[in-house]
Amino acid sequence: MIVVDTLAALILVVLAWRCLLLTDLFRSIVLFIVFGLLMALAWARLDAPDLALAEAAIGAGLLGVLLLGTWRAMGSPDGDHRQPGRALQVIAAGGGMVLAVLVGIALHQLPVSEQAAGALALERLDEAATQQPVTAVLLNFRSYDTLLEMGVLLMALLGTWLARVPLMESLSGDDASRGTELLPVALRVFVPVMLLVGAYLIWAGTHSPGGAFQGGAVLAAAGVLLALAGRLRGDTGDSLPLRMLLVLGLTVFSLAGLLLIPLQGAFMAYPPTLIYPVMLIVEYSLAVSIAITLVLLYTGSRGLRRGPA
């Protein structure tokens, strides 16, 4: 297997290199998607199926769709895609390499503590009510990180709303999806299956690979599929229910942390008997918010409405 792993690592580096250096934006995006898929394979080889799932669903799938959507909305980007000057390239590459070397040296000189956080977390896995180390770390031991990540996702959507609204009109529907008999049948088969898989992944996150981000990404993929087929449209109008769903994850997560303070005496410390139900509720709320945020990132709109069937 060492040969396959080395080959995969080499291809990853070459792909990243080509992806950065290509002047054709479309090819860069396609290479980026391939890079994401190979990265997912690398995570799987490193025994991190959670990360592999997230990388494949978000890194390769949704990010690829977002990039392609932006590319299409930009019209012909190759015309004004100018190559920076040679000197600038050398300075940027040289600066990056110096920084990488310095960071490497700094990391190398860092004293390795016996009480590494990872070892501590693995030791106390029993207290987390979940046997899945990655979920335990993300939701129980590193709740703050996950909470802040949700905040970052929301900020990204707000940024998109500010930046992308003028582009929204050009993204409505593709003529290839109109008037074909096959697409409605495919939607009827695939969308329910995707919703089922997404819901399962969120639940599975409590005991095996999966979780809110992975499941939410699959739910979002179903939404993007519907949007691509014209069944879901971006809407300029604000809708209160949609906004509430957008902040549902953040709200439920913070509330669960705050309301249970009297029981354990600390923010986001859950009593052992309540961990499992609280985690399940929090995970599903997070996933709903993640899915809706990702779909809105794709449509670039403030609201959603049903398209013509």
Binding site: D174, D175, A176, S177, T180, L182, L183, A186, V189, F190, V193
Partner: protein, 96 residues
């Protein structure tokens, strides 16, 4: 079950190789789609069958069958949409 399983895996890989060569060498969209969808669907089927034999578990075999069916469905719809888009573009090009 190991020998037939491995034999199926290797045959599946051959189909993938043929499909990829077709994708790279064929001249236009339609023949490329023809190569990659047909060859890859059979290749994936053989891989699934091989893995099912190697795992010797009915549960895993059923899951793999489901995966194969869904992949075939997705490939069919994707192929249809790409071919349709290409045809519409060409017709539009002629009209102009």
């Amino acid at each position: 079950m190991t020998l037939p399983g491995v034999a199926l895996l290797l045959t599946g890989l051959l189909f993938y190789l043929a499909g990829t060569v077709g994708l790279l060498r064929f001249p236009d969209v339609y023949s490329r789609l023809h190569a990659i969808t047909k060859a890859d669907n059979v290749g994936l089927g053989l891989l699934c069958l091989g893995i099912a034999l190697l795992s010797s578990s009915w549960g895993i075999a059923a899951l793999l069958a489901l995966v194969w069916l869904l992949a075939i469905g997705a490939a069919t719809v994707g192929c249809h949409l790409i071919a349709r888009h290409s045809l519409l573009e060409r017709q539009r090009g002629r009209r102009e």
